[in-house]
Amino acid sequence: MELDPLLLSRIQFAFVVSFHAIFPVFTIGLASYLALLHGLFYTTRNPAWDRLAALWTKVFAVVFGMGVVSGIVMSFQFGTNWSNYSQATANFIGPLLSYEVITAFFLEAAFLGVLLFGRGKVPQGVHLFAAIMVALGTFISTFWILAANSWMHTPAGFEVVDGVFHITSWAQAIFNPSFPYRLTHMAVASFITGGFVVAGVSAWYLLINRDLQANRKALSMCLWLLLVLTPTQALVGDFHGLNTLEHQPTKLAAMEGNWETMEGAPLLLFALPDRERQENRFELGIPYAASLILTHELEGEVPGIAEAPREEQPPVWIVFWAFRVMVGLGFLMIGVALTGLFLRRGGKVYQSRKFLQTLRLMSITPFIAVLSGWVVTESGRAPWLVYGIMSHAEGVTPSLTGGMALFTLLGYIAVYGVVFYAGTYYLTRVIRYGMQEQEEEKLVDDFETPKRPWSASHTPLDDNLTPEEG
């Protein structure tokens, strides 16, 4: 079989981006949560907030470290596998990625150290300020990355001269048509991710009776947050969908599984899209519902995939099903948040083991939802790198061979496999030994380690917690 460098590069980029995306989507929400905890401790002086802040700062340190490592690799991917794309779009993408890097470093240089190591060493107000600045920094980073990504979907503010993009208006290019929707959708997703992870871990601590006072507070906060945010996200997603309808109708048609442009289109719950036959082999849907949602009219017109020539159609099957996974999980999250509200009466929310177990399991769902959302929007852009202007095939590195792309793909999978295994293993240990004050004091004394991000958590890596002569 001939190895296709284009396909392998796409798989490689999808792998690296997906792997990387897991970490920031969590740290962005978590950073704000940390700032909130520090703020609550500062104003109320209740040590429970401080205990929570201590645990989640450690978690933040580990996840942030993994995000940075995977992000560095990602930034080089543009040059190694998509050199024509880099060359053509560098006038815009280059400064934006650089600004992201600059923000991240500025934040790390100035405030991350204070947040991670300042506990008890700097005045509380300064610690709080550092926490707020770190949270702010994660948002500024998100701003630049999503501006760059949105521009690839809805390019604006440029002219093409000799195959190179030149920016005519930075404001138009950065605040391109889909950017506000994408940024909001992503920011809310980050908060929901943080919310479900904190809720899940707090639920687990409640199940094993550890620091009930602090973890009940944490769980309660998260459930209120999720009660507000999960329906909000549905609304934001709907607006984003309308924006996609306007600017990327083919992608939207693929999300709906709608092949021919029609009025009064049904909302398909289940379908088997078939690109060969340019139709669905089986459909199950709610009549008129898609038209109603998208145009707010029963007989509104919904575009069809077949409007685009076959070679410009995205992989319908992937887009269609990834979209359903995302939306399905979204509704599940709303359901869990509502159940939490219902259980609050009589404080059952802290007692119901079934609900606490559910929350534990739910902590993985936002990650799956975010990744499938990412698949919807990125696969839906295919075959375009810059929508309607530059295709994947035009952007790929010309000198790249299938063998090289395969070699590095396997290499990155191996490298990230090790990092992910070590990181997750370590993270579960931080959580497993977290929230027990005396234990931690002991561990701190045991480990005289240099000042490194992960040193913010003093949990040892070895399974064996009893000393062994080495």
């Binding site: 560095i72 650089s98 600004y99 005289e448």
Partner: protein, 336 residues
């Protein structure tokens, strides 16, 4: 707008960034290369502790340089990275393993097998990253096969006897930075070990630099032209390099602690400057100058604002962390 040349400004910024990177990450990569040969596990603790608080600040310069290149000289990005495809991958993989080893070696205090594993990740990661960086330098001297600004060569064009030599040269050079850094930061038998290693490493560096200096003008006629053409001033730089080597030799014999490291930094600095003036203003050899490789002036300016704002903070932070962690590292003692 024509007050100053943005491309020259950017070339200076990126040149400065790369130099900072080589000087600073050089000695901590060097420690990784020396790691397997250390006298004992305590010495390894001291070696790692001496750089643990600062190494990722050092790598900041690599990322800053990489991102800056994409923003200011995209042609470099789109020719170098495809041409060095496999090398770039190896370097990144090496740096990732090394970074994880820094974090997790200290967490594996009690389990010997785990510790050995992270030791190996640290030394192999450092050695591979250093070799890849040396090969990049060699490839830069060698030049790239391009057509209309697109790399047209093969996956392994960069791998020649010449680049293997520069790769090994950088590894030995970094190891020398490592031993002199260790002289500064350690004491007792560990320092004695570092002193003992410095001389043979210096001789090896001298030999390899000499071979590279003879070989370079032979691989590259333009450099030949420049070296033996009109600009005799260039010869000041190798002279200064040799002077630094002499200072290193003298200060090691006199058992000075600070001077050997400074002298080694000098060797790297003047070699680097020598390379730059041999090539200036070519940035993608053999054909493209910094002006050919530049992005649009508007884009360069847009980015310049941010970089000039942040650079003082990064420099200040760098200085501050070196200041905080100054002094000797002792066995069984970490920083807090």
């Amino acid at each position: 707008m024509e007050m100053f040349d943005l491309s020259v400004v950017w070339a200076l910024i990126i040149g400065f960034g790369i130099m900072m990177y080589v000087l600073m990450d050089g000695f901590d990569l060097g420690l990784g290369i020396l790691f397997p040969f250390a006298p004992d596990e305590d010495a390894r603790d001291v070696m790692m502790n001496s750089v643990a608080p600062i190494w990722d600040g050092n790598e900041t310069w690599l990322v800053l340089g990489g991102a800056g290149l994409l923003g200011a000289f995209p042609l470099v990005y789109s020719v170098f990275l495809p041409a060095l495809y496999i090398g770039v991958f190896l370097m990144l993989a090496g740096l990732v393993f090394r970074g994880v080893a820094f974090e997790l070696r200290f967490k594996s205090r009690r389990n010997r097998r785990n510790r050995r594993l992270w030791n190996r990740a640290f030394s192999w990661g450092s050695a591979i990253a250093a070799f890849a960086q040396g090969a990049v330098v060699g490839t830069y001297i060698q030049g790239f096969e391009t057509q209309n600004g697109v790399y047209t060569g093969g996956a392994f064009d960069w791998l020649t006897p010449f680049t293997v030599l520069t790769g090994i040269g950088i590894m030995i050079g970094y190891a020398l930075l490592g031993t002199t850094w260790l002289i500064l930061k350690s004491e007792g038998y560990i320092q004695a070990w570092a002193y003992k290693l410095t001389m043979p490493l210096m001789v090896a560096v001298l030999v390899i630099f000499a071979i590279i200096s003879i070989w370079t003008p032979m691989v590259n006629p333009e450099i030949w032209q420049r070296w033996f053409g009109n600009i005799r001033l260039i010869w000041i730089l190798p002279a200064l390099t040799l002077l630094c080597m002499f200072v290193l030799f003298w200060s090691v014999r006199k058992r000075r602690e600070m001077l050997p490291f400074l002298a080694t930094l000098g060797i790297f600095l003047f070699t680097y400057l020598g390379l730059v003036v041999s090539r200036w203003p070519i940035i993608v050899p053999p054909d493209y100058t910094i002006w050919d490789a530049a992005s649009a002036p508007g884009s360069q300016l847009f980015l310049l604002v941010g970089v000039l704002f942040v650079l003082p903070f990064v420099l200040g932070y760098t200085f501050w962390s070196y200041w905080v962690f100054r002094g000797k590292v002792r066995v069984g003692e970490g920083y807090h």
